[in-house]
Symmetry: C2
Subunit: 354 residues, 2 copies
């Protein structure tokens, strides 16, 4: 694997992850780009004691461009995309419209009870493949392995940035959940705070010894919600799933983050995960919208309590029907799930390749 760091015309970092050690990464970004926007402003919500990022500049971000203007495809003789090279294996670059960055301005007191501070951090885009019409579910095991190397690398690198408290690797897939670029890609958010969901996880883990290992062991013992498993990983629908189709994927060994996975664990993840993604797409015979979220230990807090795992979920509850987060979920955080977890697991199991 060869890792090459370059810079785009506006100074953003772009990193190639190549399978071949002789890949030529000398291409230069010849575009004229606007200066990078300043970082968002973090505001403290006194009612929930959570930080909210205000990123006004993101209103103008690229929105569903035609395929021949895709900024995530390689460049060509006639068109310069975000990636100067004419081909790539996996590439990571700083988001042009970041929610968090190191490029912050000044922030004034806004009144109310809200404290304000700069949205320090970093947002990156991960292109999973140069093939515009592919999807993560279609990647070869080898290609998934390269993506995992990129995730591990970025997790380690971003964790070292001053002010970053948590690194979150994720994929949003499908127009139904609002993706603005269909090219297969994920994102990485390096947050300047521990996210609310992770705080809940760490709180629960502090009250229940070996919480995640216990969840994994009891799910494997029950078996009714296991979707797929191999020697090193198990994928199951959680007993208290929030979403119509939700699958959690745990390594059998507790590690804090992607950087800590062994080579064998990375290799074993690829076929299991892509088979679950294909099962998801097989449910209704249409590409499913989904969010796939790596839950990693924060950079400092609770590293001994956290347990790396992936939470994958779709908002599609039936052909032509989506699960919306309406009043109960969006306003009160109280989830109502229309699909029984055991039924979701049975449906997914029947779709997993044999």
């Amino acid at each position: 694997m060869k890792r090459t760091i370059t810079h785009l015309a506006d100074g953003r970092e772009l990193i190639y992850f190549d399978r071949r050690d002789d890949a030529d990464r000398s291409a230069i970004d010849r575009r004229t780009l606007d200066p990078r926007p300043v970082a968002s402003e973090l505001r403290y919500d006194p009612l929930t004691e959570e930080w909210i990022a205000m990123a006004g500049h993101r209103q103008t971000r690229t929105f569903l461009p035609p395929a021949d203007e895709c900024p995530l495809c390689p460049s060509s003789d006639t068109r310069a995309s975000e990636i100067p090279a004419y081909d790539y294996d996996v590439v990571v670059f700083e988001n042009r419209f970041p929610s968090f960055s190191g490029n912050f301005g000044t922030y004034e007191d806004v009144g109310g009870l809200s404290k304000v501070r700069p949205g320090v951090g970093r947002c990156e885009v991960v292109c999973f493949t140069s093939e515009h019409n592919s999807s993560f579910s279609k990647l070869s095991d080898d290609q998934v392995g390269l993506v995992m190397e990129a995730w591990a690398d970025r997790t380690a690198e971003l964790s070292a940035i001053e002010g970053v408290e948590q690194v979150f690797c994720f994929e949003n897939r499908g127009e139904e959940i609002g993706i603005t670029l269909p090219h297969p890609h994920g994102q990485i958010y390096a947050y300047p705070y521990v996210t609310p969901r992770t705080k809940l996880h760490l709180g629960a883990a502090s009250r229940h010894p070996d919480l995640f290992a216990d969840v994994l062991a009891t799910e494997r013992a029950a078996g009714t919600r296991v979707v797929a498993a191999n020697e090193l990983w198990t994928a199951f629908v959680p007993a208290a799933a929030r979403w119509p189709f939700e699958v959690h994927v745990y390594p059998h060994r507790r590690v804090p983050d992607l950087a800590a996975l062994s080579e064998e664990e990375r290799a074993a993840f690829a076929p299991l995960y892509t088979s679950v993604l294909r099962a998801l797409d097989g449910l209704f015979g249409v590409p499913m919208p989904y969010i796939s979220a790596w839950h990693q230990a924060p950079v400092r807090e609770g590293r001994d309590l956290a347990y790396l795992h992936l939470e994958l979920f779709s908002i599609r509850r039936a052909p032509g029907k989506l699960k919306y987060l309406a009043g109960s979920e969006s306003a009160m955080g109280a989830f109502v799930n229309d699909v029984m977890p055991e039924e979701a697991a049975r449906m997914l199991r029947s779709q997993v390749d044999h």
Copy 2:
């Protein structure tokens, strides 16, 4: 005001709230209805320490029927809807596809670490008007007053049901957020637990004396985010808004719930709130999807800490563009807002009727 309790063919309660004391409410539901489904199953998520409701039966609920089959319009000579009468002012009835109810079955251990218990409680539908093509924003002050009487009545009644811990009155509006019936209506959920959002509010209020009053006072003092106000209520965009257009409406006097509002407070709410709703619709010249959520004190816990207020928010961030809850929000609970609160307030203020 006349309040008449009747029952539908499957035993569900239906309550008319009439302006006229001589309203005839003798009409009988002559439909043949399936037996009512059993209540959902509550499952405890050990990772977040929250309850999730599993309501498999809701998969078959009525989904965007044609206007002449609207179940929320009054009945007619040729068609029987959910409301047996040929006209009504405001009517409330038990949801045919409830997330919570008193009609529960038996629940088995499901393995994993998840505790299971019945989804005790009640879900009601509130028809704001018999006019199918109206909307809350178009209701007369008088009609809003009647809706508020219904909300107050239901809050008191549902709070008295054994096992109910919190009563939540809300409106989901717009297909963009997943409403399945366009007739102007709201819902009431009587939960068998204190919702996650309310737990956060109460936790924060326990650490900050007079939290809500302080938020209101500092927002009124700052003024930059105030959208509208009168002697008894203030509507403002919170400094740390999560949603592109979010307005909180506070009474100037702390009360725990809708039942505790004075007659003057109810009367003063109507014109203020409907002017904010019209301002929201005026922003982009299209009916805005929104969620409008009354935050009331739970039935038992933290009644001295809570402060009745309404939180209204829209997912529309621009014409043709919605705010989706993708990876950061849905998986991590970490919100990024693309519209600055002061700008949202300015835009809304410019639309408020003078």
